[in-house]
């Protein structure tokens, strides 16, 4: 069976019984490049010497050997040459060591002694296939990571290139406004402003979506105050409605998460609360609460704004879903969808309560010992 480099499969067989080694070599030396060793120590020596000449695909070891046992040998092999496929040869009475091997040595398969030629051959063939599959997968993952990296860079420059002229237009429109004009002119300017802002909003959200889809979580210690402040800072500009913002952040327990994704979640929810405030309310307010315990952190964003109709509450997280109200206020319909996707990327949950003309409360719960983080770590180790 050809390998990826079209080289012969290399097999190392370790057994303290010499005639087993000889028999094995005689049987398989035409099909495979066979290496043998009489003990675990010798096996490790052989592997070390073979390193420059290419990988040893399959390593078969007897369990009962004087000195180093098979399971111990394979455990060492796994640490030094994790790519090689490990097979253990055991007798019927070796159940305990078999269980040991499965747990510790993490062997691919075990075979019982005395071995039979065809079973052995099949095992080597399958093991080789497994080896090649793993190598192939690793390469593909590398390619994918490179492609992701490229995409991130593209998103960064697209983000700037798309938004830069937009912000210029928004600024120019503001300049236009400051002069005395006819009602007609004013109306035109107002509409240009609305449309451009809508476009800008949408562009920002599309970029957020791409970033969330593609990037892995980057876990770091979170400064919730800084995140909220920077959001308020960037929103404050477009907010001439004098909304009172109440911040209640309890950061006594350190919270670790992906700060960019947190930023997306919090900024979308806060900007919604601002956008859908009630203009008839003399005291429009938003309450932001953050608290953490051993298991989770909770983010709550409550407003006394327009509220959401009961019949729409379970649809607001859908992509491009808009109500009449949100359409009128130039909502893109994608913000909450992105929030939901981002929350799930962090293995959290989001819920909403609302009453028309009274207000809305969004609650986001995120696991503290971030599961995503641990899962990524496990995958990296395997």
């Amino acid at each position: 069976m050809p390998n990826l480099n079209n080289t012969k499969t290399k097999v190392l067989y370790v057994d303290d019984e010499i005639h087993n080694l000889t028999a094995f070599k005689a049987l398989f030396r035409k099909e495979y490049e066979v290496l043998t060793a009489k003990s675990g120590d010798e096996g490790l020596e052989v592997l070390k010497q073979e390193e420059q000449d290419g990988p040893v695909h399959v390593i078969i070891s007897d369990q009962r050997m004087p000195g180093m046992e098979g399971t111990e040998f394979l455990e060492k092999v796994q640490a030094l040459y994790p790519a090689s496929i490990r097979v253990l040869l055991t007798g019927y009475t070796d159940m305990k060591s078999l269980i040991d091997a499965v747990n510790k040595g993490k062997i691919y398969r075990y075979l019982t002694k005395p071995w039979e030629e065809n079973t052995l051959r099949n095992t080597i063939i399958n093991a080789t296939e497994s080896y090649n599959d793993k190598v192939f997968l690793k390469e593909k993952v590398k390619e994918l990571e490179r492609a992701n990296e490229e995409l991130s860079r593209f998103i960064y420059s697209a983000s700037h290139d798309l938004r830069a002229p937009l912000t210029t237009v928004i600024g120019l429109v503001k300049l236009l406004r400051s002069d005395e004009r006819s009602d007609f002119d004013k109306k035109i300017i107002e509409n240009i402003d609305l449309s451009v802002k809508k476009l800008d909003d949408f562009v920002k959200k599309i970029i957020d979506y791409y970033k969330n889809e593609r990037q892995e979580n980057v876990i770091e210690k979170i400064d919730m105050n800084a995140i909220v402040d920077s959001i308020l800072n960037s929103l404050g500009l477009h907010n001439s409605q004098n909304i009172t913002f109440h911040k209640n952040i309890d950061d006594t327990i350190n919270f670790y998460s992906d700060s960019f994704r947190l930023y997306i979640i919090v900024s979308n929810l806060i900007s919604n609360a601002v956008k859908y405030h009630n203009p008839n309310n003399p005291n429009p307010s938003i309450w932001y609460t953050f608290s953490a315990d051993e298991q989770n952190c909770t983010i709550e964003i409550k407003d006394n704004g327009m509220g959401i109709e009961k019949e729409y509450l379970d649809r607001i997280f859908e992509m491009f879903f808009r109500t009449e109200t949100s359409s009128l206020l130039a909502g893109s319909g994608i913000g909450l969808y992105i929030v939901k996707e981002t929350v799930s990327k962090l293995n959290g949950s989001i819920s909403v309560e609302s009453e028309i003309n009274h207000g809305t409360t969004f609650k986001v719960k995120l696991p503290l010992k971030n599961n995503t983080y641990e899962t990524n770590q496990n995958n990296a180790d395997r």
Binding site: H160, T167, T168, L237
Partner: protein, 133 residues
């Protein structure tokens, strides 16, 4: 109190025009010098290193510029005389929301503040007041 002198650094000429007009029409100052790149701005500053009266007390610095971006400008700026570094206050201006830009600006000791485009004169006034100019 010194009159306010503002230096604009932005590769986008429309933004330069826009910001000049904003600052003038909202009566912040009409003493404005504009540069479309970091290098020419540095040349201007380095020729006036010993003349604080000719130096701007506020620099509005765009982040994304070709050849020399805002952060690279700051590296060179920090090599100028103490007079320059004490007189000129740098405010970074950005049209992106890229988090690494935000954190980089926030952690840079030479940067007073990061503001987002489009520029709001309200924010400029706030910065000027905070600096006691």
């Amino acid at each position: 109190m010194r009159p306010i002198k503002i230096m604009l650094i932005d590769d986008n000429s429309i933004d330069l025009f826009l910001h000049e007009e904003l600052l003038k029409s909202d009566k912040i100052t009409s003493d404005i010098i504009s540069f479309s790149g970091g290098k020419s701005a540095l040349d201007f500053l380095s020729m006036r290193q010993k003349s604080p009266d000719q130096l701007p007390n506020l620099i509005l610095l765009d982040i994304q510029m070709p050849i020399m971006n805002g952060f690279e400008f700051i590296i060179e700026f920090e090599k100028l005389s103490e007079t320059v570094r004490n007189t000129c206050n740098i405010v970074m201006v950005s049209s992106t929301l890229h988090p690494s830009d935000l954190t980089r600006a926030a952690s840079n000791p030479s940067v007073i503040k990061l503001i987002h485009k489009p520029l709001e004169t309200k924010e400029i006034i706030e910065v000027i007041q905070d600096l006691g100019l």
